[in-house]
């Protein structure tokens, strides 16, 4: 682990060029569209991206480095590469989503995949078809990659076990959202030069947050420390993982944090007795302009979206110079291109 942390240097453009060498596949580029540094699709046993808990630091680094190469494509006037040409990516969304679904769609199209979008509303799911039957149907129709968003934890695992396609978890219940965590890691690395030794505060409703869970795995794996800060009713108090700890006093930890990531708080939490009111929540855990002033200079503000401006984060904070919320969104496309390419890319 220590060695891995030490080798974690700042994000540099040289990554992609370095990786390109030694990958014979990347040197053959009949269309001249392949970016110079795009590595060959991931060798080895990984077929699915279900969560980050089974990603090694090396594997995470590979995704982030590949995303660097993808960002080069995104910087071109014609944002197209053939990495997924002839592959069919199905975005299978059982739960409403704007940014994640569009992000995966744009990512797949940038890599020349055929993209089919499927949401539970307009399909046989309404007629009671099971998840497994639906997944098998999609594979029979030619799906090579199934990107799945579902309200229930473990649904992507069920699909991965039963359908012959690569599966990417685009968020399952409160369990995991690995592509979001990867884009967060990428954004932090891009801005702060690395991840090891950083202190990241995730604030608010961690209990119900798949983003938080995947970030805990990803950040700690890369050598960062994670502080989970919120009322006891909204923290997964049974969770015990190396590199993380619980705190209840946001003001006490703010000056220590390199990154502060407030999570969306849902109004229903007050009805279930988890918090007394949104007013009291904002008072204790809202990332307000006053609190922003007490943060370290250069510390980042992140938010996985969608935001409740004025509740967990003030609008002025979201648009402040420390905020990287927009970068998170644009980096999301690069990360998803990298994930799709590494799991299902064709060597060209």
């Amino acid at each position: 682990m220590t060695a891995a942390i030490k080798s974690q240097g700042p994000a540099v453009k040289a990554h992609s060029a370095r990786n390109g060498q030694g990958h014979a596949a990347a040197e053959v580029d009949p269309d001249g569209l392949q970016p110079a540094g795009l590595p060959a699709p991931a060798p080895g046993p990984r077929r699915h991206c279900l969560d980050l808990d089974d990603y090694s630091a090396e594997e995470i680094r590979q995704v982030l480095d590949t995303a660097d190469a993808m960002k080069e494509i995104l910087a071109r006037p014609v944002k197209k590469a053939p990495g997924l040409r002839g592959r069919m990516v199905v975005n299978c969304f059982y739960e409403a989503s704007t940014r994640t679904r569009v992000s995966f769609e744009v990512a797949a199209k940038n890599l020349s995949a055929d993209v089919v979008n499927f949401s539970a509303g307009g399909s046989s799911v309404e007629k009671g078809e099971s998840l497994i039957d639906t997944a098998r149907t999609l594979v029979a129709l030619g799906a090579n990659v199934i990107v799945i968003r579902h309200s229930m934890a473990g649904a992507p695992h069920v699909v991965a076990r039963n359908a012959g396609a690569a599966v990417i978890n685009a968020g399952d219940g409160r369990h995991a959202h690995p592509s979001q965590a990867l884009l967060d890691l990428y954004t932090i690395r891009e801005r702060l030069g690395g991840l090891a030794g950083l202190r990241v505060a995730i604030v608010g409703d961690v209990l119900h947050s798949r983003v938080a869970r995947s970030n805990i795995h990803g950040l700690t794996r890369m050598g960062a420390e994670v502080i989970l800060c919120g009322p006891a009713t909204l923290l997964p108090v049974n969770l015990q993982l190396a590199g993380m700890r619980f705190e209840h006093d946001l003001d006490a930890i703010l000056p220590q944090a390199d990154v502060v990531m407030p999570l969306r708080i849902q109004k229903e939490r007050a009805e279930g007795g988890l918090i007394p009111s949104l007013r009291e929540y904002r008072q204790r855990y809202g990332v307000t302009t006053e609190r922003l002033r007490r943060m370290r200079p250069g510390a980042l503000i992140m938010h996985p979206g969608p935001m409740n401006p004025g509740v967990e984060i003030d609008p002025e904070v979201a648009t402040s110079p420390q905020s990287v919320i927009e970068s998170q969104v644009s980096n999301g496309v690069a990360i998803r291109m990298a994930l799709l390419y590494l799991l299902a890319g064709v060597a060209v």
């Binding site: 229930m152 934890a153 473990g154 649904a155 695992h157 069920v158 369990h175």
Partner: protein
């Protein structure tokens, strides 16, 4: 039938046939008694029938099974009870003792006609699958049933605490992001039932005890002389919530109450050893494939285990955690005593404590293939089951034919 060379006793002669069985290495025991299983008939014949469920029971060494009333319709009238008794008379290969519902349709609003049901053959009462949520209703049920010598079996679960819960609330549920079913959700109801038993003087039987806290509440109650008995399932004694993670959300590990932590498991074994827990009962809960081949949170609760119960429990014996004689007692005399019954003299099971076999879900006699033990090799095997003097399961012959 003459069984010779037995490991635990002299040769035994049984009426009925002239067959001679070589019992070398085998142990002859009284037929097992299961206080708690689901035969699913009437109403859910695609999951199990009285015929298939009792075949499975015979294969597991059980010669008496008490079936729970959460059928469709609920066993809450004499007519439905008689229907079950009649099917059992015609199709069951082992003894079936029906348990009737405490409240009509298990809704918790009105008592079923308990005295009539008892007279027609209900050996106990339970709304199993659900608790008797109202404390006042539970109090009256205990008092009323006690007046004619029947026990109420409670499925202890506080619905407000367990709403939406899919697995034991703890480290593993937090990692998997599954909604938790906290141990306290059981313990508060166990404590309530103990208080009601103390208040009324009636006996209460706690179904499928799963947590260390519940064991402690029952232990204290027994010490205080309160009339409470309890049972534990083979899966709570042998599996933990880690199995769900290892199986990547394997819905065959989803059961109510949920598989709990290793600490709970140790406390349950301790409870058997010191007599806090009276019996081992399977809570055999067969389901159709479609009930389990789905999202974990949507999957039905239950494990099909009546055929694997003895072998998986032998794992505890082989590991030195449970004495063999105690295991036998918790499967025979003790559960019968919970219902005030004597063991039938002509029910026997012949077991090989050391034979190894690999569980193949497709080869179970039960219609429920929902076992987390598929592919696992167990040590301990039921070889022959005799009910009412008749052979109802014979693995010796199967083995002979195979070789």
């Amino acid at each position: 039938m003459l069984i010779r060379n037995l490991r635990n006793r002299a040769d035994v002669r049984l009426e009925g046939s002239e067959e001679v069985v070589d019992g070398r290495g085998l142990v002859l025991l009284p037929g097992f008694v299961d206080l708690h299983c689901h035969l699913r008939q009437p109403g859910f014949e695609h999951k199990e029938t009285i015929a298939t469920g009792t075949l499975a029971a015979a294969a597991g060494g059980f010669t008496t099974v008490c079936c729970m009333p959460n059928t469709e319709p609920t066993i809450d009238t004499v007519g439905t009870l008689q229907h079950v008794v009649e099917i059992a008379r015609q199709e069951a290969v082992v003894r079936v003792l029906p348990i009737a519902a405490v409240t009509r349709a298990r809704r918790g609003a009105e008592l079923s006609d308990m005295a009539e049901l008892a007279a027609a053959g209900a050996v106990a009462f339970s709304d199993d699958g659900s608790p008797v949520a109202s404390s006042s209703m539970m109090r009256h049920a205990l008092e009323y049933a006690n007046s004619f010598g029947r026990v109420v079996i409670d499925h202890c679960e506080d619905p407000a605490l367990t709403k939406g819960g899919a697995m034991h609330e703890g480290q593993v549920s937090e990692r998997l992001g599954l909604p938790g079913w906290p141990a306290a959700g059981e313990e508060v109801m166990v404590a309530r039932d103990v208080a009601l038993a103390a208040q009324t003087g009636a006996r209460v039987h706690i179904a499928h005890v799963s947590s260390a806290g519940s064991v402690q509440v029952i232990r204290d109650a027994k010490r205080r002389g309160i009339r409470v008995t309890s049972e534990v399932t083979p899966h709570h004694l042998t599996l933990t919530d880690e199995w769900i993670e290892r199986g990547a959300y394997d819905a065959n590990c989803k059961v109510n109450p949920p598989l709990r932590s290793e600490g709970d498991q140790l406390a349950l074994i301790e409870g058997l050893l010191d007599g806090t827990i009276d019996a081992i009962a399977t809570d055999h809960a067969p389901h159709a494939m479609a009930d389990k081949a789905c999202e974990f949170e949507q999957a039905a609760f239950g494990i099909s285990n009546i055929e694997t119960a003895f072998a998986s429990l032998m794992g505890l014996v082989h590991a030195g955690k449970l004495p063999f004689d105690l295991l036998v007692d918790k499967l025979t005399r003790s559960p019968a005593a919970v219902l005030g019954l004597d063991l039938p003299a002509d029910d026997w099971v012949l077991v090989d404590p050391d034979a190894e076999w690999t569980v193949d879900a497709a080869r179970l006699h039960s219609r429920g293939r929902n076992t987390p033990l598929h592919g696992h090799t167990l040590r301990g095997r039921v070889m022959l089951t005799i009910c009412r003097g008749r052979v109802v399961y014979d693995a010796l012959r199967e083995a002979a034919i195979a070789s």
